[in-house]
Symmetry: C2
Subunit: 131 residues, 2 copies
């Protein structure tokens, strides 16, 4: 289940794309438009800056802006950054984890196939398609 972090973050990205006028957009405006606590958005937006998804500028006239064109972002990369990993099951989430039942597990192939479908959908969906 995608948490508010991922959902809100995605909405911030859409908001930034829709209101892009070349300059930086203050978080307050986004919070007002999206009806989300600005304080909470700060946490999310910080992660997005650190992850290189957007850039921020402090001080008056500051705010946030996209670093790429909307069609260059995929929903998958946005959600992965905020959710940590988009995986249906824990066995696949941690790539280093080596399940002792890996060889005989009857469900693993299905989870892999399922994960592939989810992945394909989210990484083919562009931010620009949501505007």
């Amino acid at each position: 289940m995608i948490s508010t972090k991922g959902r809100y973050g995605l909405r911030v990205m859409i908001d930034l794309a829709q209101n892009d006028n070349g300059s930086y957009i203050p978080l307050k405006d986004i919070a007002d438009r999206q009806e989300i606590s600005k304080k909470y958005l700060e946490i999310i937006v910080k992660q997005m800056v650190e992850g290189g998804l957007i850039k921020g500028l402090s001080g008056k006239g500051g705010g946030y802006k996209l670093v790429k064109k909307p069609e260059k972002y995929t929903v998958g990369e946005i959600l992965t950054l905020l959710e940590g990993t988009i995986c249906s099951v824990a066995c696949l989430a941690d790539k280093n984890y080596d399940c002792p039942r890996r060889k005989k597990c009857e469900t693993l192939p299905m989870w892999k196939e399922f994960d592939g479908i989810v992945h394909d959908y989210l990484y083919s969906k562009k931010l620009s398609e949501l505007l």
Copy 2:
């Protein structure tokens, strides 16, 4: 993310299908084969009995068995029973919930589409395909 409840429950179903000899299969055997705590499985299996997925018989010679043929179960129905709901986002999980932003939400259509894909996959996958 599918929790252990759903994953273990699915494995119990597979185990019951694979070891079906007409009589009841004790949980201890399943727990041993699947290498899962029997105590924990009790909780999961109880839910599956209440949900009508399997039936149990107390006493010596008792255990659990499927109520339908493996090809009559879908992975979706099994997971839905154990996970409560298989929904990617909270907005769609509770059918009675009426989001105030429903009309203007730019992300809702995508979540619906995504949910549809997930649903389609899980409800078309039969238990018998996992044996």
